[in-house]
Symmetry: C2
Subunit: 302 residues, 2 copies
């Protein structure tokens, strides 16, 4: 069992992990292959519950985030895609500058889109105003962006990271059943990778004070759990979360069930790089390749 | 054979394609599955030449783009990732604003990283200052961002799009041989999808006037070709490009060969969404699923 810092030091030494900017890493070699195997295993497990794989856009409209009350909840994380003016004089000044990178940084326009902070917002946006006839499930993997200031740590907390989500939209009872089933299923998947996970009650880091009450309520009603792994020094890292949103998104995006009740929703999210780090820490950077078995599909077949 | 506009209209009608913001699209259903099959086929073909699959970071440092003279060449396309200040007062003003999306748009900090405009820059950055002992090949698929103002068109010209690249670093002769081989190979792959591609001499849309001379030189020396498909109305679309950079990146990033010669480089790039559009236009949105065969691996085996 290794500490995350030890894993990262070895991967850097081997040129299997590098950083182009704070929080933005690339992977090569065996470590990259292992990450793909983990990502594929999680996709396979998701597909046993739903064939609804989506390719979500790499960004999301500000309007959708506003509708999801994102700015009141997590403004600290927001990352957006900005471009330069199309004005030729502005561009030429940058093109001919002796410090063009710095000149460009100072000349960005107001952003045209946000970079997705989570995959599931795309589901609510796509189903907005619709009536869902049966419980609707979708799954997608996407790159998510959350700015975490100086709390960045390779594989554990990136500015951008890969997230596999499974989203369920249905009745209040159906979505909670979905969430509970996945808490068990995810635990089994983690064990199949040789991890020793624990399930904890959790709360989102809602921005204070505007949304502070939400976290207390969330905890009281047990709406969020996290699957965590423990490193040798006792520090923990969440590798998956299980979230019941009640009717929050159903109301915000006017998604209804037959009979016109507002839909409830729940989602399960897996942080791919964190699974990779957990496997590397548990098995070592060499052993990992052999011992991290992809989840045997048969165990979860209907 | 369909026009791109006809394809897009049908996909929208079927909810298989949607747009969250201008130039940022998502895909579901059969169309998404077809795109994955195309992406996997292109990956398989790339892997017959190189096992060096990289996962490149989703952004890239401004410094690397400056080193690659990107700001003089294509400033018009630049897209960057910005975040908000971590100042609590700023965040609280946004969180409590009655128009938080608009407030957030106006409060973005200077960007911390650019969003990758191409995959291959990551290769030069990662190999900067190194001596390459034998021809080095890598391949990666990544999301690339290029802002094209109002020239956006779904699947054909996105603000963000998926690109599969194969990069070759070696001697002047080796990289040109690589490029020529791939021009033939890509043509075969396109034919295996039932497309009728043509190979054209091309030039990059370098920003004028700073880099205008580059395009003329590029064309004169036949350093860039594009594989194009033709729509019923005669309009063409490039689905792959084949680029010999000569020693430009080798010099900029000080990548050398044994014997201390500066390395040359070439890259081959496939626009995944454009391949999808080409297949849908050629076979129709229903027939496509059956008739678009993944590339038979055996044809390209050593």
């Amino acid at each position: 069992m290794l500490q995350p810092e030890e894993v990262i030091a070895i991967l850097r030494e081997r040129d299997e992990l590098w950083e182009t900017a704070p929080g933005l890493i690339g992977l090569r070699g065996r470590t990259r292959s292992l990450m793909e195997r983990i990502a594929c295993s999680l996709a396979d497990v998701a597909h046993e519950e739903t064939g609804g794989e989506w390719s979500v856009p790499p960004g999301i409209s500000f309007e959708t985030l506003e509708r999801a009350q994102y700015f009141a909840s997590f403004p600290q994380w927001l990352t957006a895609a900005s471009h330069l003016s199309s004005d030729n004089d502005v561009l030429e000044k940058i093109a001919t500058s002796s410090s063009p990178a710095s000149a460009a940084k100072s000349a960005m326009e107001r952003p045209g889109a946000a970079l997705s902070p989570a995959v599931c917002y795309h589901t609510y946006e796509a189903l907005a105003g619709q009536c869902v006839t049966s419980p609707t499930l979708m799954t997608a993997e996407g790159v998510c962006w959350r700015h975490e200031g100086d709390r960045l740590s390779p594989l554990e907390r990136g500015w951008a990271f890969r997230m596999r989500e499974i989203v369920c939209i249905g009745s209040d009872y159906y979505v909670e059943d979905f969430r509970q089933r996945w808490m068990i299923r995810a635990m089994d998947v983690a064990r199949s990778f040789g991890l020793e996970p624990e399930m904890n009650l959790a709360a989102d880091p809602f921005f204070a004070p505007t949304a502070r009450g939400k976290a207390a309520l969330q905890r009281m009603k047990a709406l969020k759990h996290e699957l965590i792994v423990r490193f040798p020094d006792g520090r923990t890292m969440a590798i998956a979360s299980f979230n019941n949103h009640e009717r929050f998104f159903g109301e915000s995006f006017r998604i209804s069930l037959v009979g016109r009740t507002t839909a409830a929703s729940a989602c399960v999210a897996f942080g791919i790089e964190r699974w990779l780090l957990a496997v590397l820490a548990a098995h070592g950077v060499d052993a990992a390749w052999e011992s991290a078995r992809p989840t045997p599909t048969v165990e979860y077949a209907a």
